[in-house]
């Protein structure tokens, strides 16, 4: 027998808001989308800013784990363009100064060192500066931003956008020690900071140690992808040969090939060892590269760099085929075909990156595992040295910006607890709230008449203009009209169907109206058999069943949360108000009090 659902458990409804649940920073997505629909761009931006700190950057570059989670893909093909709507908020916002936190003039006397000036460290600074901490950022490059600045080319992310969002935080009064590579953690420890945060990312690009890699004739023309992108970002490099081979199948490879096209490359190819379907790069990045005319040659495993007449001639590849064993585990084996020579002037290696800590002394109390990864607590981000915290790619290897931000928020909580002598496991609770949306008999204070349209494409710069310079941003972003149309596709998954059993007269009105057949009045049973007995069997076990207590007839109400469109028709057709549509607010706890509710009310 299934027990009635405890909707007071904050995770229950949070899980129903699939996008917010999937977002590492738990950004209240439907909330900001509704603000965009009301043209409240600044408020929409601030809801984002509080959650993810870099809405303008993320609205262009986020890996968007929210989108595959979007409920819309269960009833049609494409998710809501959550990420690009975030950009629309950033593009159309007004001055945000008045909404920024006050930074106390009198400091609390605690000093924090942040090593590495990327999104993780900047987030820690964002969260600690308003509490009166003195934060110092050490950055090896001349400007802060980390991989946002060095690894994402400007045609995807203009420098001005990074500058604006990074400066917002630096302008809180962060002490900048830029152009200063930290070469010894001991040095920093000796400076008696109250806590140290390591956010140095995963700056070590993997090398490819095959024949002729280090021959003098070739070495100048073989580049490590992320280092090459950094040189491009800081304008140390502004051209490349006509023929370029990019080796690797991740987003860095896509950035490298597209950058090459803009720096003189005419014949640019990407090669991957595996079948194309196994590539790590996001689908949309692959698509953009192909649209720009870059062929992706899969099943190509590099064998040697070929040198002829005293210079690099090309790369020799062995053709592979993928074999899968009974468990679906992949093995790449040689196809036996003749090796293929791809001629080129330059090769860019984009085959992965790692974090690396040559600057952390082995004897100062920081434990590393056998793979050279620091031991870091998953919840507190504390290392084995109590005053040293890790976050972002430095903690567990390469992820993406939104994870770095999520880590930064949590690390800031820990650092604050640490400095205040509070147990690090005492994490502040999220803000949760349920609020009825009923306005009149059939009126709700949320837009339940959702759009049937397919996803709206983001307008692009004309192709030849786009390739003319690395500074030209390819995507133009939604204009206001498109943003409005796209926002209407959001299903408002945070507006929950809340059921009150003692009001129900079991008239079936909700069952009859529900467009996706989620509601059932049925004999109670075990979850397993109940799932099969519903009007349409609830086979997606990732999604919960909402179970009521016993009703008058002895049956229960069982609702499959999986397909619910949050259209509110059940509540509209309910004669007794047993169903109500209530907005579930979930605001992740940070070091300071949330202002999100000010923006949405």
């Amino acid at each position: 027998m299934m027990k009635p659902t405890d909707i007071k458990n904050p995770s229950y409804f949070h899980k129903v808001v699939d996008c917010q649940w999937a977002c590492p920073a738990h950004t209240p997505v439907p909330e900001y989308i509704r603000l965009i629909a009301q043209r409240k761009y600044t408020e929409a931006y601030m809801v984002n800013w509080e959650s993810n700190v870099f809405p303008g950057v993320l609205g262009r570059t986020c890996d968007r784990p929210c989108e595959p989670a979007c409920r819309r893909v269960r009833v049609e093909e494409t998710p809501v363009a959550i990420c690009r709507l975030k950009r629309a908020a950033a593009d159309n916002k007004s001055d945000i100064t008045e909404h920024l936190p006050d930074i106390p003039k009198t400091k609390n006397g605690k000093k924090i060192a942040l090593i590495g000036g990327g999104p993780a460290s900047l987030t820690v600074a964002r969260d600690l500066m308003p509490l009166g901490y003195d934060c110092t950022i050490y950055e090896k490059d001349p400007k802060a931003g980390g991989l946002m600045r060095t690894n994402i080319p400007s045609f995807r992310l203009p420098e001005a956008v990074i500058d604006e969002e990074v400066d917002t935080i630096l302008d809180f009064g962060v002490i900048k020690k830029f152009n200063q590579e930290v070469t010894s953690l001991k040095d920093i420890l000796d400076q008696k900071y109250d806590a140290i945060f390591v956010g140095t990312g995963a700056p070590k690009g993997k090398d490819l140690n095959i024949k002729n890699r280090y021959e003098a004739e070739a070495i100048e023309n073989i580049h490590i992808g992320i280092d090459w992108l950094t040189s491009v970002a800081f304008k140390h490099v502004d051209k490349i040969g006509k023929k370029v081979v990019v080796i690797g199948g991740g987003n860095t490879a896509m950035d490298c090939c597209r950058s090459s096209l803009r720096l003189g490359g005419l014949d640019v190819k990407v090669t991957v060892r595996s079948p194309k379907s196994d590539m790590k790069a996001s689908d949309w990045e692959i698509e953009e590269a192909e649209l720009e005319g870059v062929p992706i040659l899969d099943n190509h495993s590099p064998k040697e760099f070929v040198i002829e007449n005293g210079k690099l001639k090309g790369v020799l590849f062995e053709k592979m085929i993928a074999e899968y064993d009974a468990n679906g585990k992949r093995k790449l084996i040689s196809s036996g075909e003749d090796p293929v020579l791809l001629e080129c002037d330059d090769v860019i290696l984009a085959i992965g990156q790692e974090n690396a800590f040559p600057w952390v002394e082995k004897d100062i109390g920081i434990e590393f595992n056998e793979w050279g990864q620091p031991t870091v607590d998953k919840i507190t981000f504390q290392s084995s040295l109590p005053n040293v915290f890790f976050g972002g790619d430095a903690a567990w290897g390469p992820e993406n910006i939104i994870w770095a931000v999520a880590h930064g928020h949590q690390a800031a909580i820990s650092i604050n607890n640490f400095c205040e002598n509070i147990d690090l496991n005492e994490r502040p609770d999220p803000i949760t709230n349920l609020l009825s949306q009923k306005m009149g008999i059939h009126e709700w204070s949320y837009p339940n008449d959702i759009s049937n349209s397919n996803r709206f494409a983001v307008p692009h710069t004309d192709h030849s203009h786009a390739l003319s310079s690395i500074e030209v941003e390819v995507e133009l972003g939604y204009d206001e009209k498109l943003a409005l149309e796209e926002s209407k596709r959001c299903l408002n998954c945070d507006i929950q169907t809340v059921f009150t059993e003692n009001l129900c007269i079991e008239c079936d009105a909700c069952v009859d109206i529900c467009p996706v057949d989620c509601i059932n009045f049925i004999e109670n049973d075990t979850e397993e058999s109940l799932r099969l007995k519903l009007k349409v069997p609830a086979l997606n076990t990732d999604q919960d069943l909402y179970i009521s207590d016993n009703l008058k007839t002895g049956r229960i109400m069982a609702k499959d949360e999986d397909m619910c469109l949050h259209c509110g028709l059940c509540a509209e057709r309910c004669p007794t108000g047993a169903w109500d549509m209530q907005k579930f607010t979930y605001i992740e706890a940070h070091t300071e009090e949330s202002k999100i509710l000010n923006y949405v009310e």
């Binding site: 009833v75 059939h442 007269i505 009105a509 996706v516 008058k552 057709r573 004669p575």
Partner: protein
């Protein structure tokens, strides 16, 4: 009333019938009735039945009179033929339509006011003629549309919403239908789709007049503690006469019931119904028994539901009238109306 259109999105794993349609292809517009009205559940049951039977919508005509109940033909089978007639006059229009085109399936929807008051005479004659129609009365004991006056099916002891007594006795439309010779008489409850859907399927398959008197609570005017047609009252006083299973010709599920516990009734078209007997003595082919059971239970304040009476041998109107097997609308104009010369000849033959 609901303001938004029902979203077009559907559950991706909805089952499909023989025509490749989901039940949602049998829907109509979103109901404008009061939320919780029993009539909406009957609408859903009609949708489900037509879907289950894989009926092509263009082969169905839905007709109704006036009332909340009669409005519901707009809420199902959007692609079918339809006629919202005048108050109480649905049987006449249905008779005309059926005479002109006997090939359509006729679903008549009416209310207790529409049928038992203003339309009582029409009702009687449609039954008397065995008009081939599935006649569904959405019976709430009140005139819903005109704000809750007692109807002629309202029980004597019950009160209205304000507490006034109903001074008159009720007309039992089912009892009357049996008496008038209806071949298929059933009673059900809007809140019991498990019983109602097989009954509707069965009634549609039945060749002749089939009545389903469906008790359908009016949440706004007749769902109070002194009502005998409220959700609670019906749930407490419902006595189901048998569990019904509609067995289309192609399937045979007799094995489900052990011998002696069930009655199989085979219809003209080869379909059959299987009635699982709860009351060991009940056989719906026995007219006298049906009448006495209805009387007995009414005396006890109970509502008997299920298939009450069925006559497998009754002739429908076209059979009695020996009309053309080709629907009139399919007969060429020259044959249908041979012209003035033929009329003259005919007239002369009487002189």
């Amino acid at each position: 009333m609901t303001f938004i259109k029902k979203p077009i999105f559907r559950h991706p794993s909805l089952p499909k019938n023989d025509l490749g349609l989901t039940y949602r292809d049998y829907e109509g517009l979103v109901s404008t009735l009061c939320a919780g009205c029993g009539h909406d559940s009957i609408t859903a049951s009609i949708v489900q039945s037509c879907y289950d039977l894989s009926l092509p919508a263009h082969k169905i005509a839905k007709l109704s009179g006036i009332g909340c109940s009669s409005k519901t033909t707009n809420y199902f089978l959007n692609q079918s033929h339809g006629f919202n007639t005048v108050h109480g006059r649905m049987p006449s229009v249905a008779t005309g339509a059926n005479l002109a085109n006997r090939d359509l399936i006729y679903i008549g929807v009416s209310g207790d006011g529409d049928t038992a008051s203003i339309g009582l005479g029409q009702y009687c004659h449609a039954i008397r003629r065995q008009l081939n129609v599935t006649y569904i009365v959405e019976n709430n004991g009140t005139y819903g549309l005109t704000k809750g006056q007692f109807s002629a099916t309202n029980d004597k002891k019950s009160k209205n919403k304000k507490g006034a007594d109903n001074p008159f006795g009720a007309i039992d439309l089912a009892l009357m239908a049996i008496e008038l010779g209806a071949g298929f008489v059933a009673r059900s409850f809007s809140g019991d789709k498990e019983q109602l859907v097989p009954l509707i399927k069965k009634a549609i398959a039945y060749n002749g007049f089939s009545l389903i008197d469906v008790i359908s609570p009016c949440v706004t005017f007749n769902n109070h503690p002194h009502s005998t047609k409220s959700y609670d009252y019906i749930r407490e006083h419902n006595t189901a006469m048998g569990e019904l299973d509609f067995v289309p010709e192609k399937e045979n599920i007799q094995a489900k019931y052990s011998e002696g516990e069930s009655v199989d009734v085979t219809l003209h078209d080869g379909n059959s119904i299987n009635l699982q007997k709860l009351d060991g003595n009940y056989d719906p082919r026995d007219q006298d028994k049906a009448v006495s059971i209805l009387r007995k239970y009414r005396g006890e304040g109970k509502v008997v539901t299920g298939l009450l009476y069925i006559n497998e041998d009754a002739n429908e109107m076209h059979e009695t009238l020996k009309t053309s097997t080709t629907p009139l609308n399919a007969i060429p104009m020259n044959d249908l109306c041979p012209g003035i010369d033929e009329l003259d000849k005919l007239n002369k033959s009487y002189t």
